[in-house]
Symmetry: C2
DNA sequence: TAATGTGAAGCCTTTCACAGCA
DNA sequence: TGCTGTGAAAGGCTTCACATTA
């Protein structure tokens, strides 16, 4: 195997592979051939082999890939081989949904703090996490938290964003498209539900679209 | 202008352009040069000009692009020039957040129905929408709804998915990665919050990551 | 034999440079 | 002069074919 830069598109696919491999591993499977994995994920088998080939040789011709080895390697590449502590700001409906979402565990994430500015919510527990006063965000600096999830309303997004950057958060998952990421410091991934929905109609045959 | 197939990557960017242009239009701006729009969005100005050039000539050399014309054209391409009726299934925290999310309006979406199987929720209004009994999903067929949003727990995802396909929904935005899209009929966009978060650490310098 | 790993071809997207226009 | 629109070059990803290995 030679050293390659792993293409960004491949990195984007790794979490998908990881999820599938973890599930297979739970079912007790030890190996899986690429075409089989491809069927599960609805992609081509040569795509999968190519992707894996960028970071090593884990397969045995005639048998397939060693699931455990692959999981370990993908975790390492994605830096998911350590536990990441995350904070959530904005405990509304969306924030509560995120706090109670069970899917983070498999990737090694742990939400360790939640903030809101609503006195009715401060002090209450949501998903096992105590909601703290948003004006105390600066206490985060000592707590070695590297990730943040922003689920505040649009108006509060910029302020929250700036505050999080200030306390040294380096990765942000934001559900609000309403902030400028001016400082280039943290890596930001924005999820805009409406925008994702906006991509759908393009791919739908027009015949069924209701004219109004 | 010649006819081009619009590249998929360009289509993916159109909703982003649209959001920005709508905001500019609201502020009363009539035109904007590409480098200016590029600054807003953090992309290159030639990328924007290239993207726009695929579907027409809306710019005036020395002045910039006509915002209204551009909005109209992008809406047309994305098929957002008609009102799309959507249904939501699963009125938990996440579903409630989506129902009360104000961002859909600007793209011309209207959530017209919501379903759940929890008797405590059925009959209540969330975000102005009456929650109906999930076992009555089949009534959708007559209501000419083309889009659906799935916000049910993992276990119920497959069942919900199949039911929606059955009543003729052609586009699905799913927050649950737990269904096979076997039938190739509807276009499906899946949002997996944990997976998006899983992409973050890769881009973050390792130094700050808490070793555990 | 069955399946991996990879060089090379093909395809698509991004980037560039510049002609052309208001 | 300032900015658009676009052909062409550069770059990167996907697909393919096949040599290779357990």
């Amino acid at each position: 195997m030679k050293y390659h830069k792993i293409p960004d598109e491949t990195v984007q696919r790794l979490p998908i592979y990881l999820r599938c491999l973890l599930s297979l591993s739970e079912q007790g499977r030890k190996t899986i051939p690429s075409h089989n994995l491809a069927d599960f994920l609805g992609v081509n088998h040569w795509q999968i082999r190519k992707d894996f080939s960028y970071f090593g040789s884990f397969g045995t011709p005639g048998t397939g890939y060693n699931i455990e080895k692959l999981i370990k390697q993908i975790r390492k590449i994605l830096k998911l081989d350590v536990v990441h502590k995350a904070v959530l700001v904005g405990v509304g409906n969306l924030g509560s949904a995120v706090l109670t979402y069970p899917g983070f565990r498999i990737y090694g994430f742990k939400i360790v703090a939640a903030f809101d500015n609503d006195p009715k919510k401060i002090g209450r527990k949501v998903g096992g996490i105590m909601v703290e006063d948003a004006s105390n965000l600066q206490t985060l600096r000592k707590r070695k938290i590297d990730l943040a999830i922003i689920t505040v309303p649009c108006e509060a997004a910029q302020e929250t964003f700036d505050a999080l950057v200030k306390v040294g958060v380096t990765g942000i998952l934001s559900f609000s498209p309403c902030h400028k990421t001016g400082h280039k410091k943290p890596k930001v991934i924005t999820i805009d539900i409406a925008m994702d929905l906006a991509r759908l109609p393009y791919y739908i045959p027009t015949s069924r679209v209701a004219k109004v």
